[in-house]
């Protein structure tokens, strides 16, 4: 290869001559390398886009000179930009071309690429930002929706609350209605029972056989109706949660023997045997509410007897778990179909059967028993097979959970905490005691529980509490007397006493000075005994005033006292009653709770005002449940009165403080308790 040839291949410059139309007449080696050969038309070698430019270039070159025109050649179909200059000469146009430096093109391309990529990045960023905004908006929208639905939920919640409130109210109205109606039934039923009993006792002369039979029928009907009314009342009390638990320790054997005695006269059919299987030696005593256990068993046994025509009713007890006792009542009666077994515990449900139609029942017994079982912390279940008999099981904790809790409380109270002031809480209801304990925990007060006045007295011998909380409701004991006692003894006189009470007719009546309280129907012997008792303390009783709008009730008292030394005076309303009391100065007054023109309270108030009548003992009679009355009457005799319904930690503490202040206990003590409590 010659040097000249090497130089040729390195050259990027070409020379050619063409005619004015662009047909190549002469071309050098470099031009030929790019396909610009003689005879070829330039326009065929130039990209379409450069045709116009080529034409202009040739025209310009022919005229004078055209300097550095960029034109795109197509070399083997690939565009190749060249810079050409041209001038007329030798009868044609001389064209000198320059291939634009390849490197320049490459770098230019790279720069363009970078530019495009930057633009892309910018767009991507922009798109992402837009996406973020969109998501953000979506989130805000969702948020708004959530807000809306939260608001909706609140509204819904309110509605539900209102609904449940109104349901609660309705249920309250229902149970009040039930108990009111039941009580309304009671008054005439009591009259019927009282009158039939009186007739059967032949106070008013002999009866012939037929009359006696009729009266027996009347009495039985009235009794079964009374049973129904009592069941309904029990149930509504259970529903209202008004049933107090009275626990104690008792051996199962004794419970069985009491039941055995009770049922002995009641086993109707000679073909049926009632068997109590005594528990094995060493069977532990139970510590729970014996009455309620007994009530459940009575129900189960009398049911079993009703539905068993032949065979046995067996009552037994065992321990399915160390801490649990199980009572089982099995019969060989008609049995209960599986589909009915759940239903029998519902109120007023009775399974249809020929026997069912024959035997009487309220349809409430099992429902009642089931609820009692729950109160005992236990469960009532049934296993049965049609035609073979049924077994009802009551499984309950040997020791009632509340008893256990109480033991803990007692243990805690046994050690006095020197950093806290002791408060003696005299309260028979455990639940309420637990409540006090919870309320006062960590408050600077230590609860010393006493579940009876006797217990309270024992505690008072050992400690001097900062305050006494006294429940006026204590069963069978006169809290008022205890209050008086506290106030009269020099060592306890300055201890503030809080009287806490629920509004309940009996206790209100007692609080107002009633000496006795009974629920109709009265038993004659009970009546006489009461009067004797009152007489024993107050001197001979001669005149008895009966204030009652119910004619039959008055008549019954009158008849009961007909052959005694007592003289009965009667009044029908508040005004009359008070007037008679002032006029006749009876030795004792029987007062019906609800009178046409007022309540027993009006009578009691009036009696108390007058010194002539103030001392007359009053026996309240009632056959109707009581409405809420003013608490003020109670507060007269006590430092403070609060209702259990409104009892809260705050109220309890505030009242105790008030009482302490009133008792002159220094604010220093209070300050320490307050700071301990962090108030």
């Amino acid at each position: 290869m010659s040097d000249a040839h090497t130089v040729q291949t390195l050259r990027r410059e070409f020379v050619l001559r063409c005619d004015p139309e662009g047909t190549i007449e002469h071309a050098d080696a470099v031009a030929e390398r790019y396909g610009l050969t003689p005879q070829a038309r330039l326009s065929d070698r130039v990209a379409v886009d450069s045709h116009t430019k080529l034409k202009d270039f040739l025209a310009r070159a022919q005229e004078k000179t055209a300097d550095r025109w960029e034109i795109t050649l197509l070399v083997e179909d690939a565009p190749m930009p060249v810079s050409v200059s041209g001038a007329a000469g030798d009868g044609g146009i001389w064209v000198v071309g320059n291939v634009l430096p390849q490197e320049f093109e490459v770098v230019m391309g790279q720069v363009r690429q970078s530019m495009a990529e930057l633009a892309d990045m910018h767009r991507t960023a922009e798109r992402q930002q837009r996406e973020l905004l969109r998501r953000n908006e979506e989130l805000s929208r969702l948020n708004r929706e959530l807000d809306d639905s939260a608001r909706g939920m609140i509204v819904l919640h309110h509605e539900v609350e209102e609904k449940s409130d109104s349901l609660r109210r309705m249920s309250e109205v229902k149970s009040r209605l039930v108990s009111n109606v039941s009580h309304e039934f009671r008054t005439p039923l009591n009259s019927i029972l009282g009158l039939t009993r009186m007739l059967l006792s032949r106070v008013d002369g002999e009866l012939n056989e037929e009359q006696e039979k009729q009266l027996q029928y009347i009495r039985r009907s009235a009794e079964s109706l009374t049973e129904l009314v009592n069941d309904v009342l029990d149930l509504s009390k259970l529903e209202a949660g008004k049933v107090a638990l009275r626990t104690g320790t008792f051996p199962v054997k004794e419970l069985f023997s009491a039941l055995r005695g009770m049922f002995k006269p009641l086993v109707p059919d000679p073909g049926v045997e009632l068997v109590f299987e005594d528990p094995p030696e060493g069977f532990p005593d139970l510590d729970t509410d014996e009455n309620k256990v007994s009530q459940v068993l009575k129900n189960l046994i009398s049911n079993a007897l009703k539905f068993t025509e032949r065979g046995q009713v067996v009552v037994r007890a065992d321990l399915p778990e160390p801490d649990k006792a199980r009572f089982r009542v099995s019969d060989t009666g008609i049995g209960i179909a599986p589909e009915d077994q759940a239903r029998i515990f519902e109120e007023f449900s009775q399974v249809e059967s020929p026997i069912q139609r024959r035997v009487k029942g309220t349809g409430l017994g099992l429902s009642l028993s089931k609820r009692l079982a729950t109160i005992l912390g236990g469960e009532l279940t049934v296993e049965s097979e049609i035609g073979r008999g049924s077994t009802f099981s009551l499984v309950l904790p040997r020791q009632h959970p509340e008893v256990r809790e109480m033991e803990r409380l007692d243990q805690e109270a046994a050690e006095l905490d020197p950093s806290r002031s002791q408060v003696l809480v005299v309260e028979d209801d455990r639940q309420t005691l637990f409540l006090y304990e919870r309320y006062l925990r960590g408050s600077g007060f230590q609860v010393i529980p006493a579940r009876s006045l006797e217990g309270a007295r024992r505690k008072l011998e050992k400690i001097k509490p900062a305050a006494v909380v006294l429940d006026i409701m204590l069963d069978g004991e006169s809290s008022w007397g205890f209050l008086r006692e506290l106030k009269s003894r020099p060592e306890t006189r300055d201890v503030p006493v809080l009287v806490v009470t629920v509004t309940n007719r009996e206790h209100k009546a007692r609080a107002l000075g009633a000496d006795e309280f009974c629920v109709k129907p009265m038993d004659r012997e009970w009546l006489i005994r009461r009067l004797e008792n009152i007489g024993r303390y107050r001197g001979a009783v001669e005149r008895v005033l009966v204030i009652d709008d119910d004619e039959v009730s008055r008549y019954l008292v009158r008849k009961m006292l007909a052959d005694t030394q007592y003289q009965v005076i009667e009044a029908e309303d508040v005004h009359d009653g008070v007037r008679m009391a002032q006029l006749e100065r009876p030795h004792v007054i029987f007062l019906d709770f609800v009178l046409p023109t007022g309540t027993a309270f009006d009578v009691l108030d009036a009696l108390k005002i007058d010194p002539r009548t103030r001392g007359i003992p009053v026996i309240i009679q009632t056959s109707k449940s009581l409405s809420d009355e003013e608490v003020a009457a109670l507060s007269k005799d006590s430092t403070s009165v609060i209702s259990k319904q409104s009892l809260s930690r705050e109220v309890a503490i505030a009242r105790i403080r008030e009482a302490l202040l009133q008792a002159g206990l220094g604010p220093a003590t209070l300050a320490t308790t307050a700071s301990a409590e962090g108030v």
Partner: protein, 218 residues
């Protein structure tokens, strides 16, 4: 309101002077004076670019100057991009590419922005995209439409090649072609199976939108 031809002249001046700051200022002025983004695209940037092209053909400027001018045009498009008035998404996905060898991507950029404004979801592949890369992107993005851009007519063989490859690989994809080289070629393109074509971005997107509307929202 700023006159669009005045704005265009000023923009060309800035492009030729290589004054990108001035170019961006002019775009901002246009927006501020209430010109629509579409008008800035079509009346200012695109026409300026055509004028630059004309000036090269008239040998008034060199190719280097032309490159600098398109860089400023790209920048201007980027500046306008956030302000695009966008229709609600229509659910159609478009893969947009310049055919192999095609270095002029400004038209494709404008096409991209017009497609986005019309509610299309655009996957932009840029300048000089080989047919294989196009087919790959179609599959990867489950695209419904392939839009090809061609400015210089000497890339026609590349266009034909790309269309054939795409038709083989993804026969269901709708084909559209835009760019200056498309002028007066619609019959030939229809024969090749291209559904719509137009030299101007706005016309092309209008046609695609009409076609899409005919076929229904995805």
């Amino acid at each position: 309101m700023v006159n669009s031809s005045q704005l265009r002249d000023a923009f060309i001046e800035a492009q030729l002077a290589g004054d990108r700051v001035r170019g961006l200022e002019l775009m901002a002025d246009g927006l501020a004076s209430g010109m629509s983004v579409k008008d800035l695209h079509l009346e200012v940037i695109q026409q300026a670019q055509q004028e630059i092209g004309r000036m090269w053909v008239a040998n008034e400027i060199t190719v280097a100057r032309e490159h600098a001018a398109s860089a400023i045009a790209q920048l201007a498009l980027a500046q306008l991009y956030p302000h695009l008035p966008r229709a609600e998404s229509n659910g159609w996905r478009v893969v947009l590419a310049c055919v192999e060898g095609e270095q002029h991507e400004l038209a494709a950029r404008i096409g991209n922005d017009f497609l986005e404004m019309a509610g299309f979801d655009v996957i932009y592949l840029g300048a000089d995209t080989p047919a294989d890369a196009v087919v790959e992107a179609l599959a990867e993005n489950h695209a419904h439409i392939l839009a090809l851009s061609i400015t210089m007519s000497y890339h026609w063989p590349a266009l034909e090649r790309t269309i054939r490859t795409a038709q083989n690989a993804a026969p269901d994809v709708m084909l559209v072609v835009g760019g200056r080289a498309v002028e007066d070629k619609s019959d030939a393109l229809t024969e090749m199976g291209v559904v719509c074509s137009a030299a101007r971005a706005d016309v092309m997107v209008e046609r695609v939108s009409a076609e899409v509307a005919k076929r229904g929202r995805l």
